[in-house]
Symmetry: C2
Subunit: 170 residues, 2 copies
DNA sequence: ATTGACAGTTCAAAAATAGAACTTTAGGCC
DNA sequence: GGCCTAAAGTTCTATTTTTGAACTGTCAAT
């Protein structure tokens, strides 16, 4: 399975992994949420190679997660800012940070704390059910195929022709 | 920056990315949450190469996300099941799936639907503040350095000696 | 005796990433 | 004018990962 087949899988997780499932994209997005906007800022705070940073920024722009905005003419210079689609990644980022806070901290404690402006308190994110508001656990959830579920065999087993047809037929 | 320096960064996001931030780990974990447990099951439903699957399973076991349990003797056969640490990844998985549901579906609609056993309804996950219960957005959150924050320069700029010392000194 | 299932391991070829130098446009300093 | 710096890339080679395919070892069934 290649990167591009990943985004065509009939699975919302696989499609999202096509966007953020690599070494760097989530780190770049962390910087975005910390208000970094420029190439040099990303590069120096992450230590990513310039080559790969350029690649990743292009990818995130292509997926509509970042927007490239010129902030000066000649020489043309751009900043990268989160679109709404990008801002919507916030729960993913926060749940990742939270898991790290619980399971990956050393004896010094958390590298970062979060304060909710609305209530003023330091908080942790909690994932709840949109319908009843109760916290969610894996065991309390039933999974059902939805309208976009795959019909037959796994996508990675399909011939190219069949795959193209499956896409067109949407 | 290499994979192993990633998990030593003073950042809960970076450390978690060291565990799940690659092409395959999240897909393998998806299968785990769908009750798959065996090598062949992972391999055939993901289309991952056997070599890399073995690698990834080893990594997830090493990080304590999966446990390797023998289910038969001679020939020794193992299954891989989620530990509590692994089960705690559920909010990450669900927020990733949710983002894909909102931003990456085609006209056919969602590949999967989720039903909350507790209330019986189809739901979406919502991330709320642990203190006041209100939904969270990036703009409503203030970030503060915590006790485990880095003191001086970025980790990727440290010499190896300094880095080793920083770890020992924890 | 042969086949098939399972859980890997091994190896060469292809792709991605790292690391470093180089490019382009412009402003500031002497 | 000549030299330095800054920003945002691009280009190049070397290294590391990943792929794809075949192979191994143990047992059960035919």
């Amino acid at each position: 399975m290649k990167w591009d087949t990943l985004e065509e899988e009939p699975c919302s997780l696989a499609r999202t992994v096509a966007v953020i499932g690599d070494r760097w994209s989530l780190l770049v997005l962390r910087e975005c949420f910390l208000r970094k906007r420029r190439f040099e800022a990303f590069q120096s705070s992450l230590g990513i190679t310039r080559h790969l940073l350029a690649e990743r920024l292009k990818k995130l722009v292509r997926f509509g997660v970042l927007r490239r905005i010129p902030y000066q003419e000649s020489p043309k210079r751009y900043e990268y800012i989160l679109t709404q689609k990008g801002l919507d990644l916030y729960p993913i980022i926060m749940s990742i940070v939270h898991w790290g806070n619980i399971h990956m901290v050393d004896s010094r404690g958390r590298p970062m704390l979060h304060q909710h402006k609305a209530c003023g308190k330091m908080f942790d994110p909690v994932m709840v059910c949109s319908e009843c508001g109760e916290p969610l656990t894996a065991k309390a959830v039933h999974v059902h195929p939805g309208p976009g579920a795959r019909q037959t065999s796994p996508a990675h087993a399909m011939a190219d022709g069949a795959k193209a047809k499956a896409k067109t037929g949407a």
